[in-house]
């Protein structure tokens, strides 16, 4: 290979590496996470809030592991409620459906995708009064104990 080819090829590699390095230049994104939140065991009592809204959809999250439901609160604000691992719901059965009006109490967080997530601690289906408890008051999830002994409806 001629020296000029080596120089051009090196320059090309240098340029090609920049878009990738730019993504992590200031550490605002880590790895390839989209929202960079700890869905499974993350919780912070400081950010606990209660929101009320209607369920728009229930789906598997972007991590293909946790179940999430999108709710629309007053003024058209949409939030994503993180319900926990799919396997947990497969065992417990899903008491909620699209269109239900719910009150969700949980820890609020904003992901790096800009979406507001609520890591749910308690969900109340307002019309029938069904209460689903997913975590204790300090945020310890029921699925971490291997089942739903602490949870209830």
């Amino acid at each position: 290979m001629q020296p000029i080819s080596i120089i051009l090829f090196s320059l090309l590699i240098f340029l090609a590496s920049f878009p990738a390095s730019a993504q992590a230049f200031w550490g605002t994104t880590k790895g390839n996470c989209t929202c960079c939140l700890n869905f499974e065991s993350g919780y912070d009592v400081n950010t606990v809030t209660t929101v009320t809204g209607r369920i728009l959809s229930i789906q598997t999250g972007i991590d293909h592991h946790n179940l999430q439901m999108e709710i629309e609160c007053c003024c058209g604000i949409r939030m994503m409620v993180v319900l926990g691992p799919q396997r947990y719901w497969a065992e417990q059965g899903m008491p909620l459906k699209v269109g239900d009006k719910v009150a969700v109490c949980g820890s609020k967080a904003q992901g790096q995708d800009g979406v507001i997530y609520i890591l749910a601690q308690k969900i109340t289906e307002i019309s029938q009064g069904v209460v689903v408890i997913l975590r204790n008051e300090s945020g310890h999830p029921n699925w971490a104990d291997g089942g739903g002994e602490n949870g209830g409806r």
Binding site: L11, F18, D44, N46, E137
Partner: protein, 418 residues
């Protein structure tokens, strides 16, 4: 030279453009960081001032619940002892704060800022400032989401990514175009050479049919005259006729050899034996010129080139060396194995080859000799190229010419290489 200067100018211009755009993209991104931080700090300062005012007027602190903006992750008002007087999560009011981050704020004035990872995994900007309440002093803690304020950074990052992606694509396309142009130029050169060979082929055919046959007659009658004429001036003329006929015959042979379009079928041969044969052939002529030959090729070397072709190559190179060497000169032929190649080197101690001749030496009809058609080295190159090798020339350290022929090592049928 003009072409090289134009290429250099374009290359430098493109390099400067690339550097300029890169610098612009990086600078834009770097400037976005402090702007984003200032935006968030400004918001925190506004909120802190408003909340302090409300807290000072309302001892129950219930009015603070009215502060709700999407940027607030949580807000808390702490006493100097770390008791939570107000919190956006009402359940925490009255409890003690679990961290010690508020302590340094008591001794400082103004807004202090830090990045804190919450239990949810989110990284927020935490602002703390001492505040004066109606009956005591305290600390206002504001944890703000950074996503909105970082929009400017995201845009700058996207811009930088786009610029570098475009530059990369531009360079890739540029390299492809350069490669295509070079290939086109190479193909044009090859086509021109093919045309040249085709023309030479026609000339060769004419020589073969129209010159060689009468030449054989001239040479034969010349030899007859040479034998029959008594010693003297006439016999000298007959000898001259024969030697010139020989020269013409060799020229016709060389032209035919060079223009013949046949593929060379690779066959293993021992260069040591071939070189020894050529040296033996040339020795009588060399003795007349007082030239010595030195042959140093290991017997176990095997090259992939037909024997008669290698003989032609070495004959031409050794003849050249012999003709270039002064009286008492030495022509050497040596060989060695270099990886998958056998390197045969022919050197002489003649005057060497002028720099400008070295580049065109292997082109047909290029010669620096007074007598000679300039086909010998072209024939050598054709044969060596046909065998998949290469030939090059340079001046040796002693001043004479040094020809290096690289030929592939022959692989025997049992898989061994020579």
């Amino acid at each position: 030279m003009l072409r090289f200067s134009a290429f250099l100018l374009i290359f430098v211009t493109v390099l400067v453009l690339t550097g300029g755009l890169s610098w612009f993209a990086i600078r834009d991104y770097r400037l976005a960081v402090p702007v984003a931080q200032e935006n968030l700090r400004g918001l925190a300062l506004t909120l802190a001032t408003a909340m302090e005012g409300v807290a000072a007027r309302d001892p129950s602190l219930k009015s603070l619940t009215s502060f709700q903006t999407p940027e607030i992750a949580y807000a808390a008002l702490l006493s100097a002892k770390g008791k939570i007087l107000f919190h956006t999560n009402p359940d925490l009011i009255g409890s003690d704060v679990t961290d010690e981050r508020y302590r340094p704020v008591l001794t400082k004035e103004g807004l202090s800022e830090s990045r804190v990872r919450l239990g949810t995994g989110e990284i927020v900007s935490e602002f703390q400032t001492p505040v004066q309440l109606s009956d005591q002093s305290g600390i206002l803690r504001l944890a703000l989401h950074t996503w909105r304020s970082e929009a400017i950074m995201r845009r700058a990052r996207q811009g930088m990514t786009e610029i570098f992606s475009l530059l990369t694509v531009g360079w890739i396309l540029g390299l492809i175009i350069i490669g295509l142009l070079r290939r086109q130029a190479r193909q044009q050169r090859q086509a021109a050479r093919q045309q040249e060979l085709a023309r030479l082929g026609e000339v060769g055919a004419v020589l073969a049919h129209e010159i060689r046959n009468p030449l054989a007659g001239i040479k034969g009658y010349g030899q007859l005259l040479e034998e029959r004429l008594p010693d003297g001036r006439e016999r000298g003329f007959a000898t001259l006729i024969v030697s010139e006929a020989w020269r013409l015959e060799r020229l016709a042979h060389d032209i035919l050899l060079y223009t013949r379009s046949e593929s060379i079928v690779a066959a293993p041969c021992q260069p040591a034996i071939v070189a020894a044969g050529v040296v033996a052939l040339l020795t009588p002529q060399a003795q007349e010129l007082e030239i010595r030959f030195s042959c140093d090729i290991p017997d176990d070397l095997l090259v992939s080139c037909p024997e008669e072709r290698l003989q032609q190559v070495l004959l031409n190179l050794l003849t050249n060396g012999m003709q270039a060497s002064p009286v008492g000169g030495l022509v050497t032929v040596s060989g060695r194995r270099v990886g998958k190649w056998v390197e045969l080197r022919v050197t002489d101690n003649g005057p060497g080859i002028a720099k400008e001749m070295q580049n065109v030496l292997f082109e047909p009809f290029r010669t620096s000799k007074a007598r000679g058609a300039g086909l010998g080295l072209s024939v050598c190159k054709k044969i060596v190229d046909g065998c998949g090798g290469s030939i090059e020339v340079k001046n040796g350290s002693g001043g004479g010419a040094e020809f290096t022929v690289r030929l592939p090592v022959a692989v025997l049928k049992n898989g061994e290489s020579g």
